[in-house]
């Protein structure tokens, strides 16, 4: 059976809004459009109640002990900025050193670099060849001056899951704040800010079948009480941490999406994980020289990132144009640099150019997986037939021994 085309299999980039989430948010655009800060009439009060419920849903999804620990934002980029810069500015007197890892999302890396320009010092730790960092490695990088450790829950390219519990426990033992970008983690892997000793945690709705443009930052209030410097000033919304009239429909959607994501995670992980294994198994059964990028098991169920050696990624994407996936190839990026995440894993540039990220999500079906396998196999074979590298390898030439004329 041919599935409907095109197929969306890029669920790390964003996800479709779940119809249940959409249904929950719609009334808050039209009949229930009040400003949650208007306490003087029923329109405002019902909006405030909706916001309270959403805050509660997000708090619960993260294992937070109080809904007061949730600050609503425009998404994970803003949450990352607010959490990292806000904490650093507040702790400036105590220290000027931050530790993070070089496979973080740009929103974290660039926030750290902005702090460097203000005089903070940042250690960007390497990861191992499967994309992981250990608590011991982080601990070894701490100094008397370290105020914050920022490590993501799940990487957006290779889906690897960092050992958050060990990192958090170590940070708390050493009296350093632990910030976690969990944009790709919520609903995909168990998250619990208490058990994992997370002090600041960024999430976003559009990775969990909610709308774009809304997210949250968890800010611990007890043991330790985390204080932040606000970035957006105004009417004092969100306890002064993020002014601006609350986007009630979006917050309702985030709350609903977060609750669904966590409630359905066990069943969904099993189903999506099986689809991922089917995809990986199907591809490797029919193609040789397919290399998995990132840890084989410590990764989210929906992530498959692999390199199809000797076939450049953008040309592969072009061939499978009715399946939406993405590539770590330089040719697909504005910078013409291959993926910095794959580079950090020590993946050869040559293989990074041939990498494809499949992001399987809630709405993908087995028929779509089977169609994708067929397309990828067909196009990889076609492109290998026209690849000079493939030809050389077939002739037994070691590509590393060739004198290339490259730039």
């Amino acid at each position: 059976m041919t599935p409907n085309l095109p197929i969306y299999m890029d669920n790390h980039a964003t996800t479709a809004v779940d119809p249940r989430v959409l249904a929950a948010m719609l009334p808050w655009f039209t009949t229930k459009f009040g400003n949650a800060a208007s306490r003087t009439h029923s329109f405002g009060r019902e909006a405030e109640e909706a916001v309270d419920k959403a805050r509660d849903q997000v708090a619960r999804a993260l294992g937070a002990s109080s809904a007061k620990e949730i600050v609503f934002t425009s998404g994970a980029t803003e949450s990352n900025n607010l959490g990292i810069k806000g904490a650093a500015h507040m702790l400036r007197e105590q220290g000027d050193h931050i530790v993070t890892i070089c496979t973080e999302h740009k929103a974290v890396l660039d926030s750290c670099m902005a702090l460097e320009r203000e005089g903070f010092r940042v250690t960007f730790l390497p990861v191992d060849n499967q994309g992981l960092v250990s608590a011991a490695q982080i601990e070894a990088a701490l100094t008397e001056q370290t105020i914050l450790v920022a490590v993501m829950a799940v990487n957006n390219e290779i889906g690897v899951v960092q050992p958050l519990e060990q990192i958090g426990a170590m940070c708390h033992a050493r009296g350093v704040l632990f910030f976690c970008d969990a944009a790709q983690g919520l609903g995909k892997v168990p998250l619990d800010v208490e058990a994992m000793h997370i002090d600041l945690c960024a999430v976003t709705a559009h990775k969990i079948y909610g709308p774009k443009g809304v997210g949250a930052l968890y800010v611990r209030r007890k043991a330790p009480r985390v204080r932040l410097e606000a970035m957006i000033h105004g009417g004092g919304h969100e306890r002064g941490l993020r002014s601006g009239t609350l986007a009630v429909p979006l917050l309702v959607a985030l709350g609903e999406a977060a609750e669904l994501a966590v409630a359905e995670m066990p069943a969904e992980s099993a189903r999506i994980g099986a689809l991922r294994e089917r995809l990986h198994g199907g591809l490797t059964a029919q193609l040789e020289h397919v290399y998995l990028n990132g840890h084989p098991t410590l990764r989210t169920p929906g992530n498959l990132n692999c390199s199809f050696a000797y076939v450049e990624g953008e040309s592969l994407l072009m061939g499978i144009h009715d399946v939406a996936v993405s590539s770590g190839s330089a040719c697909t990026s504005a910078s013409l640099e291959p993926s910095y995440v794959l580079k950090a894993l020590g993946v050869d540039d040559e293989l990074a150019h041939t990498s494809i990220r499949f992001g399987i999500g809630r709405f993908n079906t087995e028929a779509e997986i089977d169609y994708t396998i067929g397309r990828v196999v067909e196009v990889v074979n076609r492109l290998r037939d026209m690849s000079p590298l493939w030809e050389m390898v077939q002739e037994g030439i070691d590509l590393k021994s060739v004198q290339w004329t490259g730039h």
Binding site: C331, A334, H353, P388, W390, W404, G406
Partner: protein, 133 residues
């Protein structure tokens, strides 16, 4: 990336994919680019006794624009003399394929591949003539 009709056409129906015997004295082979840069092109020409390129073949590891540039290059060199083929410029390829600025280097590579193939052919022939006293 939005591809032009012509890039799509060359990508979907590449002209002259394949290989010519590289040790044949009438064949010139050019291999340019590097796997680490994400693009490698191999372009080959077969030159007849009148100095006319009667056949050409390519293989390319690279994006769709690189594949289209090299496919077009094989079409263009065919029927040209060795000297005429040397006048093909990457800007002609950019124009014909409507390449966006970020893909200009793919056309540069195709021009380099033509030149490398021509140089290889000339080098072989000079060597041949040298051996017949």
């Amino acid at each position: 990336m939005a591809y032009s009709e012509k890039v799509l056409d060359h990508y979907n129906n590449p002209r002259n994919v394949g290989a010519l015997p590289k040790d044949d004295p009438t064949v010139g082979t050019g291999v340019v680019g590097a796997p680490e840069c994400g693009d490698v092109m191999k372009l080959q020409i077969r030159v007849n006794a009148d100095g006319v390129i009667e056949d050409a073949r390519f293989k390319t590891f690279g994006c769709g624009s690189a594949i289209a540039s090299s496919s077009l290059a094989t079409e263009w060199v065919k029927g040209k003399t060795v000297d005429e083929a040397a006048t093909i410029r990457n800007t002609d390829i950019v124009q014909e394929l409507n390449l966006p600025p970020i893909k200009i280097h793919c056309s540069v590579l195709a021009e380099d591949a033509i030149r490398a193939a021509l140089a290889d052919y000339k080098r072989k022939n000079a060597a041949l003539q040298g051996t017949t006293p």
